[in-house]
């Protein structure tokens, strides 16, 4: 807001200057303030969040779009705004991330007494676009390969079960696909129980209906025991292999000696694509492979995603599944009011509550090391603060002294010393696509099918859903387009509206195709009030690591559908480097006096 006091800063002397208010900066602002450091957090933008911000008015969006196209927003390009003017009551987020139940973010928030600072809502269902022809393709070729190959031997006891399933499947192959007979329960029970925590359902009566929903050309991805057991698209043999595969997913990194065989498979197949494993060791129909890969939320198709990337992504899904209270069919959550944009705002406020100062609309204009000669002569006598490492000129003319400067390279226009060769980033060293095409749509209808409760016994109604549309690339594998749909109960749009967030490495055209398929899958195709397309470039981290003593360049945020837990780990690492001396464990920990205050309030 423009009418604030704009007084001078309360001090010219700070332990730490943080530039920017993205996830990592805001996390560090809380953590360091809570650890008793004096923290000044500034952002040259007039809003919080940086590349994870949210827009609340139409002019917010048009201003940002213009800045992107003028090249003023690092990491963004090619913004296109189509459609009408947005009224009051919308929140359009650049980072509507979903958060897995089993995630570093949630663990950290719980430890920091901050989990309840957000309104968490459930991501209810996953859907994939599959044609009837695609679903009808059995794992025929794969089955042949597995029967004749060494798959069974490698799997040892798992292989025996799989072979049993194959035998059973062969007998009933034709009939079995049509009816879900009670006999199927035997094979299902073996593999599936390990991965999905739910107790086995009562024996299925002949002719009972599947729990998997359909919506036009979209099919719900199996997420519970019942789904797999009663799916009409899976044969008994498919179910057997699926169970074995899920067990492998859960145990591929288990330290238990009994799981050696799973680790061995992982080691052997690590660099091979997910598809390879799902056509050889665990032969599944292509439709099942597509469905499984949609759970990874990875931008690459299963035919090119190495197992080393795919498996951790699938594991986080299945480790989360069934654990969210009152909504056992869900694996992921999302934060109401804008996803990660909300995280940034709440973190920055938490930093202020812990004594930090946030200043919006202020940037850094110059950084220089504090002069050497002064440093020697002035080992100050009594009461005076010791000399800070850096003098930082802010763009309103104020000058401050700081020991640490934290920010992304784009927020720090002049570096104190030429950057040395960057150390390798600590995040997963997989090849990231360079550009992610993204879009936000505001629809003028509720999409009730997407947000229905899956089971009547669930107390929570989902507020979001994920859809995946594979878009064929000429001569190559189908590239996924992910759509995260958010209902009005997220507080991000008025009733009678729905938000869609789409992303793909393919193209804007692929997004348009995918979204139009979703719209056409509704009984009455909803209208589009507005759409915003933009390209988010993965900036290669050339300038990360600790380049000069006291300067921390944060790696660029990883754009994606799911919250990047790497951000938490990176912030934790930076925190440890700054506080040192055994205080590392105190990352985000609430100070004792604040803790007492909270406890007192809880009792009242």
């Amino acid at each position: 807001m423009s009418f604030t006091d704009n007084p001078p800063l309360p001090s010219t002397d700070w332990d730490i200057l943080i530039t920017g208010s993205g996830i990592k900066q805001s996390l560090l602002a809380v953590a360091l303030s809570r650890a008793g450091r004096t923290v000044l957090q500034i952002d040259h933008n007039a809003y919080y969040g940086g590349s994870s911000t949210a827009f609340y008015t139409h002019s917010d969006i048009t201003t940002w779009t213009a800045r992107v196209n003028a090249g003023h927003e690092a990491g963004f390009s090619h913004a296109e705004l189509v459609g009408g003017v947005l009224g009051r009551g919308f929140t359009l987020s650049l980072a509507p991330d979903l958060v897995y139940w089993d995630s570093a973010l949630l663990r950290m928030l719980r430890a920091a007494d901050m989990a309840e600072s957000f309104s968490w809502q459930a991501v209810g269902s996953w859907w994939v676009w599959l044609t009837d022809e695609e679903v009808a393709v059995p794992a025929a070729a794969a089955a042949a390969a597995a029967a004749g190959g060494g798959g069974g031997a490698l799997l040892m006891d798992a292989g025996v079960k799989a072979a049993k399933a194959v035998a059973a499947g062969k007998k009933r192959w034709n009939k079995g696909r049509k009816k879900t007979a009670a006999a199927e329960e035997e094979t299902v029970g073996e593999g599936e129980g390990a991965a999905v925590a739910d107790p086995p359902p009562p024996l299925q009566e002949e002719g009972a209906t599947t729990t998997l929903r359909k919506m036009g050309g979209f099919r719900e991805v199996a997420c519970t025991f019942e789904d797999v057991a009663w799916s009409k698209d899976l044969s008994d043999r498919d179910r057997g292999y699926l169970g074995e595969f899920l067990r492998f997913v859960m145990k591929h990194d288990s330290p238990d000696p009994a799981d050696q065989k799973h680790r061995d498979i992982f080691t052997e197949y690590k660099t091979k694509p997910l598809t390879t494993l799902l056509t050889t060791l665990f032969p599944l129909p292509p439709s099942a492979t597509t469905s499984l890969s949609s759970l990874s939320l990875l931008p690459t198709p299963p035919a090119t995603t190495p197992l080393s990337t795919a498996l951790p992504a699938l594991a986080r899904h299945f480790r989360s599944l069934g654990n969210i209270p009152d909504v056992r069919s869900a694996a992921a959550l999302t934060v109401a009011y804008g996803g990660s944009a909300e995280l940034c705002q709440v973190f920055s406020r938490a930093a202020a509550v812990a004594g930090g100062i946030n200043v919006l609309g202020r940037g850094v204009s110059a950084v220089r090391p504090a002069e050497k000669e002064q440093e020697q002569g002035e080992e100050e006598a009594g009461g005076k603060q010791r000399r800070r490492r850096y003098k930082v000129a802010l763009d309103n003319g104020e000058e401050i002294g700081v020991d640490w400067i934290i920010g992304s390279p784009s927020d720090l226009p002049s570096t104190p010393t030429p950057p040395s060769p960057a150390p390798q980033p600590t995040t997963t060293a997989t090849e990231q696509p360079t550009a992610l095409y993204r879009a936000a749509y505001i629809l003028t209808a509720d999409l009730p099918t997407l947000f229905q409760k899956k089971y009547a016994d669930e107390a929570i109604t989902p507020a979001a859903a994920v859809l995946m549309v594979p878009v064929a690339e000429e001569g190559g594998a189908a590239v996924p387009v992910y759509i995260l749909a958010r209902s009005w109960v997220t507080g991000e749009c008025p009733r009678g509206h729905t938000l869609l967030y789409a992303s793909t490495t393919h193209s804007y055209a692929a997004i348009s195709t995918a979204v139009s398929r979703l719209l056409q899958s509704q009984e009455v195709p909803p209208g589009v009030l507005l759409s915003l397309f933009y390209t988010q470039t993965h900036v290669s981290p050339t300038n990360t690591g600790e380049d000069a003593e006291g300067v921390v360049y944060l790696a660029p945020e990883e754009p994606g559908v799911v919250f990047d837990d790497g951000a938490v780990e990176e912030a934790r690492g930076v925190f440890g480097r700054i506080v040192g001396g055994g205080e590392e464990e105190g990352f985000m920990r609430l100070p004792e006096n604040a803790r007492r205050l909270l406890d007192e309030m809880e009792e009242a």
């Binding site: 459930a122 109401a336 709440v346 202020a352 509550v353 309030m601």
Partner: protein
């Protein structure tokens, strides 16, 4: 103090998010401290501590549990986030009756609330530091030895602020966080003024810091995942 069991009684009981706004150093935190702890600290440091404080207000017809959000100093540098206003059912816009610019600032905040906050928000305009005005200075000076404090330092006439408040349909009070004058009255007036339709049952869905998604609490089914129970379960799990 009302127990959870009594919440089922016919008397309405509800949590209400209240946000404080106003220029720095007008006494926002002091007002809260007086209301919550019946305490006052001279030369209080800018607010550090909790994300919000809670205090119950018992009225004949309803019990309101205020969740009182302080600015944590964020009003100073254009750094109050939209999440601060969100789902606030009521706002206390505070100025200092001895400082004319602070009323100008208060008017800006009122305009900002009318633009950004929920349409039904109840706004109270509060002129603080009433103890520094002459009539009060005289009546409250028994312990004061310093004559300078008896001077009437009021710079904003009551009538001026009151006229503005009436124009904008705001509740209006002049208070002293120092003596406690009118502090309880402000909160009681607010508690009375909140329309029944915006009151949600205590402990209902989404009463986290960010508030629940608007109006979802009245749907008869829940959208918010209960993190409190989950957190407790996780902690207990760790302990064994």
């Amino acid at each position: 103090m009302a127990s959870r069991e009594e919440a089922g009684a016919p008397k309405l009981s509800s949590s209400v998010k209240l946000v404080l706004l106003g220029e720095a150093a007008v006494g926002k935190s002091s007002l809260v401290l007086r209301f919550v702890n019946d305490d006052f600290q001279e030369n209080k440091e800018p607010t550090i501590g909790a994300a919000f404080l809670t205090q119950k207000c018992n009225l004949p017809t309803r019990t309101i549990k205020f969740e009182i959000w302080d600015t944590a100093g964020q009003e100073r540098f254009a750094s109050l986030a939209p999440m601060y206003y969100r789902n606030a059912q009521t706002a206390l816009v505070v100025y200092d009756i001895t400082k004319p610019t602070s009323l100008t600032k208060a008017k800006h905040w009122v305009a900002e609330l009318q633009r950004q906050a929920s349409p039904g928000i109840v706004i109270a305009l509060v002129g603080n530091k009433l103890d520094l005005a002459s009539s009060n200075a005289i009546s409250a000076n028994a312990d004061d030895v310093d004559d300078a404090e008896n001077e009437d330092r009021r710079a904003i006439p009551t009538s001026e602020a009151k006229a503005y408040a009436e124009e904008e349909s705001l509740l209006f009070y002049e208070t002293s966080a120092k003596t406690g004058e009118n502090v309880q009255a402000v909160f009681e007036a607010i508690a009375n003024a909140i329309p029944e339709s915006t009151l949600k049952p205590r402990g209902g869905a989404g009463t986290g810091m960010g508030g629940g998604a608007r109006s979802s609490a009245n749907e008869g089914h829940s959208h918010a995942v209960n993190m409190a129970d989950a957190t407790r379960a996780a902690k207990e799990g760790c302990a064994c």
